[in-house]
Amino acid sequence: MRSVGLALRWVFGNWTVALGLLLMAGVILMALSAPLVFPRSPTAMVGPPLQWPGARPGLPLGTDAIGRDILAGIFHGARISLMVGFASVSVALVFGILVGALAGYYGGLVDNILMRTTELFQTIPQFMLAIVVIAVLGPSINNIIVSLAVVSWPPVARLVRGEFMVQRQKAYVQGCIVLGMRDPQIIFLQILPNAMSGVVVMSTIMIATAILMESALSFLGFGDPNVLTWGTMIGLGRNTMRDAWYIMAIPGFALLLTALALNLVGDGLNDLLNPRLRSQRGTR
């Protein structure tokens, strides 16, 4: 009961969190309803090209340079953005947690090998590595997810490793060992739940970063050529910047709101899960 009350207070006592959740609900709703509201493909031509928003009934956000409905593109783009964000971060979390947990729990040689490998991944600039991975695998949605996961897992591994090194010294872990529990049991059932709060906070911010990186890759032309994403729309709109700047402005705004929502929720989660920091907020 107490935790429910705390969660409710968390949402309503904090307008930033409420705003974040509201925005996020909006984006998720757009993503889910896209095939119902706009059953036609977002790449289909629906009207004359370069119609300004509001200029024509039925096309509230206008059309792009070849007459595609921008609102349909925004709805379907939300699907892609969220899907890529969630999927790539999930893969990165599984991998990062696994590596970090093993390194932190066993220490010694295992730790050394795993952490050196992690550092290796961090020695190539993130965005560069993502581009190279896509160049090797070829541009498709699945490969973008893989490439984003490849560049996002190292910070997770480092965070989880740090947590595990602290938890490993605690009495309850010694107790588990004495009780004769197996290592996987201790790692995943006993320690991991205690090490998750940092990961939860990190993951919302990671989703935002992944969505922004996906848009950047699409913008540069490394995206899936068969899919219209927000980043692709910005890249195409750039060519008609002088006559029809709204084409490039609208998807950027959608990206901004999505990333903002995730960051607001992440900040709220941080306050909720790390009360130590919350108490410092008011100090001067």
Binding site: I124, F127, M128, I131, I234, R242, L256, D267, R281, T283
Partner: protein
């Protein structure tokens, strides 16, 4: 009893053994990255010969074979790998057949543009990040803090390349204050001071766009670090001594609050060689990131690999510098 100096000189606090070990580790890491990427890029579809033939508009197999023989692409993989390793060990970056120029010359021709963009944008972001972060922390949960935090949050959530595009729209297309792209007006044949002014004029938008991207992170880091430091006892002592709030913030607290910032700035500088590819693309800035991007599309793998290796060297070196800066800023940090 001997009196120890309060702070031993820097060379004592950065042991030679530490530097040597870090350099050896770094060299090994760079070698590993080079080797892994060599094989990774072999898996990529297409090669330079195909890309070149595609540009020339032919698919004549004889022409392709001749190109491959010329580039050494007809050799077995292990021979290519050995040649690559030999070049790496002799610090020879090789030759780009596509651009008919040695890779080293190509990269170094692009380096000044990238360095200029890096120094300006990181510098601007640092100054504003520190001032805004410190101000936010001093007025925590009051109006200045609210405004700065919202600004930082919005900046953090905005796609950086989109900010650049919108800035071009507003400042170049609508207002006509700045040029839309490039680094200088080459047709004007400016020399001396005129050229400096011209380049600075071209630099304003890209540097601001890139700085905005860093600024969002710096403000939040400085604010968090300052909040933590300002609650410590030594700050209370400083207040009791009657030192002005501004002096306390910038002279006493900041030094203790910026260590996380140093790490992030190091990462940003280390990643800059290829990391500015977005800004360089948006503003047609003739830097290394742009070169990498073009090399990627043209399958100029040798050039691409060289930029990757160089950029990892850059990361390794900045990481070492970051550790030394730690020691300079905070004398209690010990390097082992």
């Amino acid at each position: 009893m001997t009196t120890r100096p309060l702070r031993p000189p820097l060379y004592r606090r950065v042991p030679l053994g530490f530097l040597l070990r870090r350099l050896v580790y770094g060299a090994l890491a760079v070698l590993m990255i080079a080797v892994i990427n060599f094989f990774l890029l072999q898996l990529a579809p297409g090669d330079a010969a195909e890309a070149l033939a595609g540009q020339a508009g032919t698919a004549d197999p004889e022409y392709l074979a001749r190109l491959r023989a010329q580039f050494g692409l007809d050799q077995p993989l292990w021979r290519q790998f050995l040649a690559f390793l030999m070049r790496l060990l002799t610090l020879d970056l090789g030759f780009s057949y596509r651009l008919n120029e040695s890779v080293a010359v190509l990269i170094f021709a692009r380096l000044p543009a990238t360095l200029l963009l890096m120094v300006t944008s990181v510098g601007v972001a640092l100054v504003f990040g520190i001032v805004l972060g410190v101000t936010a922390a001093r007025f925590a949960n009051r109006m200045p803090d609210r405004l700065i935090s919202i600004f930082a949050l919005l900046l953090y959530a905005t796609p950086p390349f989109w900010i650049g595009l919108m800035m071009i729209l507003v400042f170049s297309v609508w207002l006509g204050w700045t040029p839309t792209s490039g680094m200088e007006n080459v047709l004007a044949f400016n020399t001396g001071w005129d050229r400096v002014v011209d380049i600075a004029h071209h630099l304003i938008l890209p540097a601001t766009a890139q700085a905005g991207f860093y600024l969002a992170i710096y403000v939040r880091l400085v604010r968090a670090g300052m909040l933590e430091t300002l609650s410590l006892d030594f700050i209370r002592v400083a207040r009791a001594k009657g030192i002005s709030e501004t002096r306390i913030a910038y002279r006493h607290a900041l030094r203790n609050a910026v260590l996380p910032l140093v790490t992030v700035v190091g990462t940003n500088i280390g990643g800059f060689l290829g990391g500015a590819v977005l800004t360089e693309t948006v503003f047609s800035w003739p830097g290394v990131g742009r070169l990498m991007f073009d090399a990627m599309f043209a399958r100029d793998l040798n050039l691409l690999l060289s930029i990757l290796v160089l950029s990892s060297v850059f990361v390794v070196l900045t990481n070492i510098v970051v550790d030394i800066v730690y020691v300079i800023i905070n004398p209690t940090v010990e390097l082992k």
